[in-house]
């Protein structure tokens, strides 16, 4: 059954290329109907790929009459490719529908016509990259997608960086095909890794997200899953034998650094789009950690742990496809409706844009690690995989795993902080400018894709076990030989058969039940539902004067201080590097702070006695344990 599906998918990709070419030749065609056609084609492709995934048939291959002489492009449809094809095409369909719906609206920054011409080409490129069986076809796909996204945005320096990274990914994919193994690791980290936003080549993401909303949505919703898929293929496929154990170390280190750097940036950046871009870097870091754990588990022959880690990777990729598309589109709607992307000029949007606010809340809640969201399930799976891993490896490696656990905790807290900060500052509180006070909700048609994505992410959180069992089991089995099996069921996730775990569905029902009971009791006791409204209690300060119609702007939080300040690295010459920031946060967490006046002067921190004692004890313990192992 996979053969006809692959043929149909190839036909859809060809049709998308044709649609794009027509739009370039005859620009009037690149209007709304073309956008909806693109959305329909991509949605059909996603459904077909999902059908292939559910049927779980033997892989199908197809040779195209294209490519270099003697090296025709080959396509393959196996469960892993089908899973990521679902994600990429679904994200593309939502983006196209949103871009088509917002066409014709007066907008200062967006150019929907350019987006509508380039969108089908980009989706075709990404489809080619996901379905490709050889490096050349995959590289060509990435190059097509990168070029199309570049054409979508304003052709300035920032989008040139995006184009450069995409071409680097394309080149590294082509080079790594059939290369010696260590080269493959390097290529995977620098090519698709950089494309997904992995440190150290992550800086291009923030400016690239300031381009048009569809371009940003594609860059984080469709490109990231395709890049993750490529990494998965490069790291898990090449020889069939398990790669050496040390391969996981750079992945884990870069992943942890990305989590800290991206998470901190998401609580700092002054603009909505760039803060969301930093959130993408954080999520990519989590995915890299999952990949690293899976590689370690595979090298030490723990297929169950590898399956759990890969389950987390696939869940995070799906989450990125949904939330990564939803959030930039919402940011675009806010930019159009409220005329700015700066946090300190927004505020109070919940009154004027309630549906957009709900979508922003749903998207950020999905990636925040709060139950019953899908992000929590991913963190839970990663934690359980880490917990099962220490039986493998030496003590230094186990120490690394402890540090990774702390990083997971930090990731969870930073994601919640980012949720609070963005929703709180952008949508809640008082409007900070007259323009924000007069913000407009997008049209009904433009809201539909947003609402669909928001519903999807909510359902993904509650039915995470069922969806993983249905859609992710076959790909994981194809990659590791062992599926998730009883670890994922309708009720939720579990670390093994017969053991209790995270029951997402019962937990969500209990939460609803508790809230419902309170409402019912209130009604039963006849508490009046009407409320009295009055000026907010400003801690005793007087009401603002008449010339400040939106209140005193200085008294409302504009998003500062949602994460700990790293005082001692503020003056350091290397302060911009993510590694230093991460180290600084770890030090700051572990060591008590020095007294304030000395903070910027002292070259070396003077540690208080208890901290020194604790560190010495820890070091001694580690030394003893080390001696015990050797």
């Amino acid at each position: 059954m996979n053969d006809p599906i692959l043929t149909l998918l190839t036909a859809i990709i060809a049709a998308l290329v044709g649609l794009g070419a027509l739009g370039v030749v005859w620009p009037p065609l690149a209007r709304q109907s073309a956008g909806y056609t693109t959305a329909g084609l991509a949605g059909l492709a996603a459904l077909l790929a999902m059908l292939a995934l559910l049927l779980d048939d033997s892989p199908a291959t197809l040779a195209l009459p294209l490519g270099l002489p003697g090296a025709a492009f080959r396509l393959v449809l196996d469960p892993v490719a089908a899973f990521f094809a679902v994600l990429t095409f679904a994200a593309g369909a939502a983006t196209s529908a949103s871009a088509a719906a917002s066409d014709g609206r007066p907008a200062a920054t967006d150019d929907p016509a350019a987006a509508l011409a380039a969108l089908p080409v980009c989706l075709a490129g990404l489809g080619l990259a996901v379905l490709a069986a050889d490096g050349l076809a995959r590289g060509t796909g990435f190059a097509m997608a990168g070029g199309a996204i570049w054409a979508m945005g304003a052709a300035d320096r920032t989008s040139a960086a995006q184009l450069g990274v995409t071409l680097l990914a394309a080149a590294s994919v082509i080079v790594a095909y059939g290369a010696p193994t260590t080269m493959v690791l390097l290529a995977a980290l620098l090519g698709p890794g950089a494309l997904a936003g992995l440190v150290p080549l992550h800086a291009w993401r923030a400016p690239a997200h300031r381009a048009t909303a569809p371009a940003a949505a594609l860059l984080s919703g469709a490109v990231v899953p395709a890049a993750i898929y490529t990494m998965l293929r490069m790291l898990f496929d090449p020889t069939g034998a398990a790669p050496p154990g040390w391969w996981s170390l750079p992945l884990l280190a870069l992943g942890a650094t990305s989590v800290v750097a991206g998470g901190l940036a998401a609580t700092r950046r002054a603009e909505l789009d760039t803060a969301l871009a930093a959130g993408t870097v954080r999520q990519t870091g989590l995915i890299a950690i999952g990949l690293g754990i899976a590689l370690t588990a595979r090298a030490t022959d723990l297929p169950g742990v590898a399956a759990m880690a890969l389950g987390a990777v696939l869940l995070l990729a799906a989450l990125q496809a949904v939330c990564g598309t939803l959030l930039p589109l919402v940011a675009g709607a806010i930019r159009q409706g409220a005329g700015t992307r700066r946090l300190d000029r927004l505020g109070g949007l919940v009154h004027r844009m309630p549906i957009t606010t709900a979508c922003l809340l749903a998207g950020l809640f999905g990636i925040a690690a709060l139950p019953p969201g899908a992000g929590f399930a991913a963190i839970w799976l990663l934690f359980q995989a880490l917990l099962a891993l220490p039986h493998a490896g030496s003590l230094p490696f186990q120490l690394l795993l402890c540090a990774l656990t702390a990083v997971l905790g930090l990731a969870a807290a930073l994601a919640s902080a980012s949720l609070l900060r963005l929703v709180g500052v952008v949508c809640l509180g008082r409007p900070r400018t007259p323009r924000a006070a007069a913000a407009d909700e997008p049209t009904r048609r433009a809201r539909r894709p947003l609402l669909a994505l928001a519903t999807t992410v909510t359902l993904l959180g509650v039915f995470v076990g069922l969806l993983l069992r249905l859609l992710a089991d076959a790909p994981i089995r194809a990659l590791t030989g062992t599926g998730l099996g009883p670890r994922a069921s309708l009720l939720g996730l579990a670390p093994g058969a017969e053991s209790p775990g995270y029951a997402a569905l019962p937990l969500a029902s209990l939460l609803l039940l508790a809230a419902g009971l309170v409402l019912w009791l209130r009604r039963l006791r006849g508490v009046p539902s009407h409320t009295v409204s009055g000026p907010a209690w400003e801690g005793g300060f007087a009401a603002p004067p008449a010339w400040l119609p939106f209140g005193n702007p200085a008294t409302q939080s504009a998003g500062a201080g949602f994460a700990p300040v790293l005082a001692w690295c503020a003056w350091h010459p290397l302060r911009r590097t993510a590694l230093v920031r991460g180290l600084a946060l770890l030090c700051r967490t572990a060591l008590p702070r020095r007294s304030a006046p000395l903070r910027h002067r002292a070259a070396l921190p003077r540690l208080p006695a208890p901290a020194v004692a604790l560190i010495l004890v820890a070091a001694l313990l580690a030394l003893c344990a080390w001696a015990g192992t050797t």
């Binding site: 609580t267 009154h351 925040a368 690690a369 709060l370 139950p371 929590f376 839970w380 934690f383 917990l387 003590l395 402890c402 656990t405 702390a406 990083v407 997971l408 905790g409 930090l410 969870a412 807290a413 919640s416 609070l420 709180g424 500052v425 809640l428 509180g429 670390p495 053991s499 209790p500 775990g501 995270y502 209990l510 939460l511 609803l512 508790a514 809230a515 309170v518 409402l519 508490v527 009295v532 409204s533 009055g534 000026p535 907010a536 209690w537 400003e538 801690g539 008294t555 939080s557 201080g561 949602f562 994460a563 700990p564 700051r588 008590p592 208890p610 901290a611 820890a618 313990l621 003893c624």
Partner: protein
């Protein structure tokens, strides 16, 4: 039959916890006042306050959004579910398979986030400051909490609270030093979290009652968690009879009184924790959590 029994015990537990939470707050205040040389309010006073508040209808800030009325509900629901999951007098309750430690941490974070969201909604200076402080402190508390959960998971081979307490009850969480360090770390996290208030100034009426009840439940969850994980003496096992339950109830009461008194004495001795010192406390909690995990790993290697 077993399921019916488990459901009955679960229902009793929920009723007890809901009834006891305000009394525990009263006990806390009374002990604190006695240690400071004052008479202190009656134990029932928090209950009276709640009843009084619940009768009033709330006054909202002018620019409050629908989210402002939802937040107390969400906060209370999360804390009520968390309180229902942490065992008090017996193991083997109906919700025991749901009681994962990470889920508990998540529910605490959920309640915290809901409250902070409402604090930002009013658009006041105090609310914004309190919300950002909460988020920022969580960045230090969560790593410590995750390290403690890792330690317990390594000790017991599971993150399920019921199974962990069962193992502790039979003295199987070895080495005890690691468990003690983990407990100390949890106490530090609980202490640091207990001062991050100041977000409730905009609430009134029934909403405020819900939030105060949720806050009381949060304290009780911490007491129950620390008490049951590290001092599960007298707790009834799964499938026990009414006599064991009575013993478990008495032991629960004693444990609560001891923990409340201990914490009150600690507070009396150290004074109120300054805001600037909270990160320091959390840093120490994280180091203790790391040390506990190290102890477990090192002892596993040595064995």
């Amino acid at each position: 039959m077993i399921f019916l029994l488990a459901s009955f015990v679960q229902a009793v537990h929920i009723a007890l916890v809901l009834a006891a939470a305000p009394v525990v707050v009263g006990l806390q205040r009374w002990t604190g006042a006695r240690l400071a040389g004052r008479t202190g309010p009656e134990l029932r006073q928090p209950w009276r306050d709640l009843a009084r508040l619940a009768r009033k209808h709330p006054t909202l800030a002018e620019n409050a959004s629908p989210l402002f009325r939802t937040a107390p509900l969400a906060c209370f629901a999360a804390m009520a579910v968390a309180a229902a999951l942490v065992p008090s007098f017996t193991l083997g309750m109906a919700f025991a398979p749901l009681a994962d430690l990470l889920v508990l941490a998540g529910l605490l974070a959920f309640a915290r986030a809901a409250l902070a969201m409402a604090a930002l909604d009013a658009g006041t200076a105090a609310g914004g400051l309190a919300a950002s402080r909460t988020a920022s402190l969580a960045c230090l508390a969560e790593p410590a909490l995750f390290l403690v959960i890792l330690t317990l998971g390594l000790l017991g081979g599971t993150t399920n609270l019921d199974l962990l307490i069962g193992q502790q009850h039979q003295g199987m969480l070895q080495p005890p030093a690691a468990a003690a360090l983990a407990a100390a770390s949890l106490v530090a996290v609980a202490l640091a979290g207990s001062d991050a208030t100041g977000q409730t100034s905009e609430f009134s009426g029934g909403d405020l009652a819900l939030i105060e009840l949720a806050e009381a439940l949060r304290m009780l969850v911490w007491y129950d968690l620390i008490g049951a994980l590290f001092l599960p003496l007298g707790m009834a096992e799964q499938g026990a009879g009414p006599l064991d339950w009575a013993v478990g109830l008495a032991a629960w009461g004693v444990r609560l009184v001891v923990l409340v008194a201990g914490l009150a004495a600690l507070r009396c001795a150290t004074g109120r924790l300054r805001l600037g010192r909270t990160p320091q406390l959390l840093g120490i909690a994280a180091v203790m959590g790391l040390l506990a995990a190290l102890l477990v790993l090192a002892s596993a290697v040595a064995a």
